[in-house]
């Protein structure tokens, strides 16, 4: 390790300890655990700055935060999965004594011995660790893959295909003619005036139609088909721009949250 890196690390450690002491002393001692809370706030601030340091370049502090995150989040999801699925969902269905031991309420429908099957399949899945019996783990995997594939087949056919197409069939010629006055009233974009609604319906219909033309690559994009494809890509560009803007705003709000934490909770400057 380079000497300059060691010096930077030493400075960071000293600053961390200083911040911990100051933060702990600033917290109310009578609330208890102020040393621990001081440490946690300082550590959160350190991790925030460590991740932000990636803007300069990859460095040991960023790697520290990255590797810690992997371990802690894996354990977090494992614990959550154990308590919410194994204990809450499985155990009350398998054994009353186990349910009593884990202090979870018994199921109104009682025990269900069919639930030994996923336990057996789960244990078979762990056979993947065995060099000889690894092939058995394909059976539970086949169960998960088959069930999910069948489920997705129906789910996506309904929600991403049929429902999307049926929702695109919007009234393109208006609903009820009440004269030119009501037709031209309420021209505000946010309003639901007849003309605005009609135009919006046309944009939706043509947008979907031309968007699909753009994604249809089995025919050369020439002539009328090419015009449709070009309109499709314009609509797509508007969407990408809008999605981009939306994402930026979301990320900026997260950044504001982190800055507020650093200057508010940690440094108490705001």
């Amino acid at each position: 390790m380079k000497k300059s890196t060691l010096i930077v690390m030493a400075v960071v450690v000293v600053l961390f300890l200083l911040s911990w002491v100051l933060k702990a002393s600033a917290l109310q001692p009578e609330q208890g655990s102020y040393i621990l809370r001081g440490f946690l706030v300082t550590f959160a601030a350190f991790l925030t700055l460590a991740v932000m340091s990636f803007l300069y370049q990859d460095n040991p502090f960023y790697k520290f935060a990255e590797h810690l995150f992997v371990g802690v989040s894996a354990a977090f999801w494992m614990c959550m999965g154990f308590w919410t699925t194994i204990v809450q969902n499985l155990i009350p269905r398998l054994s009353t004594s186990l349910a009593d031991y884990f202090m979870v309420p018994q199921r109104p429908e009682g025990l269900n011995l069919f639930f030994y099957t996923p336990v057996i399949l789960g244990i078979l899945l762990l056979m993947r660790l065995s060099p000889r019996g690894g092939w058995i783990s394909r059976w539970p995997l086949a169960f998960i893959v088959g069930t999910t594939a069948g489920l997705n087949f129906i789910r996506y056919l309904r929600s991403d295909f049929i429902k999307q197409i049926s929702s695109t069939f919007v009234p393109l010629l208006g609903t009820q003619w009440e004269g030119i006055g009501p037709f031209l009233s309420n021209l505000d974009l946010s309003a639901s005036g007849q003309l605005v609604l009609l135009l919006s319906n046309w944009v939706v219909f043509l947008g979907v139609f031309t968007g699909l033309i753009y994604f249809f690559f089995s025919k050369e994009h020439k002539g009328a088909f090419g015009v449709g494809s070009r309109v499709g890509i314009w609509i797509l560009m508007i969407t990408f721009g809008a999605s981009f803007g939306y994402t930026v705003m979301g990320r900026i709000s997260l950044l504001v949250g982190r800055i507020t934490f650093l200057f508010g909770t940690w440094l108490e400057l705001i």
Binding site: P118, L189, L212, W234, F240, Y246, V248, G257
Partner: protein, 270 residues
Amino acid sequence: MKRQIPVVLVGLFGLFMIFQYFVPHESSEWIYEFLLDWTIIIGIFAMALGLWSLYRVSVEKIRTRKPAWGYNYLTLVGLFTMMLFGFTSQNGEAWGWFFPFMVAANLTLVMIIQASVTKGHRGLFLGTAGVCLAVCIVIIIFDDTWGFHFETAEGLQSTMFRAFFDNILIPIFATMFSLLAFFIASAAYRAFRARNVMATLLLLAALIVMLRFNPYFGPLSPYMSKASNWLMNVPNLAAQRAIIIGVGLGIVATALKVILGIERGYMGKG
């Protein structure tokens, strides 16, 4: 047999999940609910397999001295610590010997890893691991200010489990995502040049959405907000719908290939 049975299982369960959708009988729905629960339960076993895999990969990186191998200790210590927090909690207000216990437990883990990766001094590392383990056991026996709670999900509510979630996971997660704001901004600087119609549409749509809540536009602010809403609800909806229809078709086709046994990548080699 090693490869045929999984293909048959995938086909059976996949076709059943499709078939049950068209059978509005309560027994069909009952089996459907069953299979869904089973999938979730087996998923938890898969998560345990993932944790073991993370351990193996990290230890292997340490053993072979891969670049940045030292950080893998941090991943494993984070994993182990968070797991312990998930199953322990205070019995009262005091912490007692809880933190020395955590240090000793982590030292045990590190020494076991060292013993498994090192060529010499294996006895020394195993001996140290044994001493640390003995310290852990002594603390567990004599310190009753905290305890292991396998009976209830109290660990999930324990101070340290929640503190690690709030002060490690959330700051790193939020900061990583907020960093994207900077990268997106730099990408936008390069991409957002009104060189042609498509780039101009992208630029305008993004600007309208990003500036919709800007209070400095004075009387223009409400119009920006309305235009942004219209962009999100009409052209954006149209293009998203075209994309979703394409994605849905892709998923349905893939699911069908899996169910019919054409796609067998999930089985791996061997």
